[in-house]
Amino acid sequence: GAGVSQTPSNKVTEKGKYVELRCDPISGHTALYWYRQSLGQGPEFLIYFQGTGAADDSGLPNDRFFAVRPEGSVSTLKIQRTERGDSAVYLCASSFERARMNEQFFGPGTRLTVL
C-alpha cells in the first residue's frame, strides 16, 4: 500500500513569506506527527495529532508555526513570516492509533530553504 507522502519535496522561499507543507498519512492511521530535522541532527518533535485534534503541540517553536488536520487525514503545516532559521527538512509520520506502543511510518520529507 501507499506510504506517507509529503508535498512539495523541496520548497525555496524568501524571508518573510508564508509557506504550507502537506502530509498525506497512511490510510487508517489516526496518529500524525510533524518533526523538523536540521543538518546533522536527529528529528525534533513539533506537533502530534490524534484524529482531527492536536494532542500535543509543545514542540512548535513559536506562534509563526501552525498545523491543521481538519478531516483527520491530510495535515498541513503552516509557517508564517519565514526566517532563515526555519530552513530544515520537515518530516511527517503516521502511526496506527497511539504511537507510544507502535512504530511510526515516515514520509520522505520536505526540504525547506529560506533565502
Binding site: L39, G42, Y48, G59, G109
Partner: protein, 110 residues
C-alpha cells in the same frame, strides 16, 4: 529538545564486520525504537523494544535495553555496504511523541 545521545557519532567498518551503536537517554520510557535514515530524508523503523524487555532480535539486528543505566545498544552483524546510513534511537518519555537522539553515521566499505 533531544533526549538521546548516540555513541559513536560516526563509525566506519568493512563489509562483514559487526557494527555496534549505543544510545543513552534521560527519563523513564515505555519503549525505545531504532530508526535508519538514508541520505538525510525519510526514516525507516528497524525495531522496537519495550521497557520490560532486555533483548530483541530481528534478522541481523540485535537490540539490548538496560533501563537501570538508561541505555540501549544496536548491533548489526555481518554488515553490508547497503547498511551505510544514519541510525537514530528514539524514546517516548512516557508520552505519545518520540524524542530522537543525535544519531550515529555508519559507513560500511565494500
Amino acid at each position: 529538545s533531544q533526549q538521546g545521545e548516540e555513541d559513536p557519532q560516526a563509525l566506519s567498518i568493512q563489509e562483514g564486520e559487526n557494527a555496534t551503536m549505543n544510545c543513552s537517554y534521560k527519563t523513564s520510557i515505555n519503549n525505545l525504537q531504532w530508526y535508519r535514515q538514508n541520505s538525510g530524508r525519510g526514516l525507516v523503523h528497524l525495531i522496537l523494544i519495550r521497557s520490560n524487555e532486555r533483548e530483541k532480535h530481528s534478522g541481523r539486528l540485535r537490540v539490548t535495553l538496560d533501563t537501570s543505566k538508561k541505555s540501549s545498544s544496536l548491533l548489526i552483524t555481518a554488515s553490508r555496504a547497503a547498511d551505510t546510513a544514519s541510525y537514530f534511537c528514539a524514546t517516548d518519555e512516557d508520552t505519545d511523541k518520540l524524542i530522537f537522539g543525535t544519531g550515529t553515521r555508519l559507513q560500511v566499505f565494500p
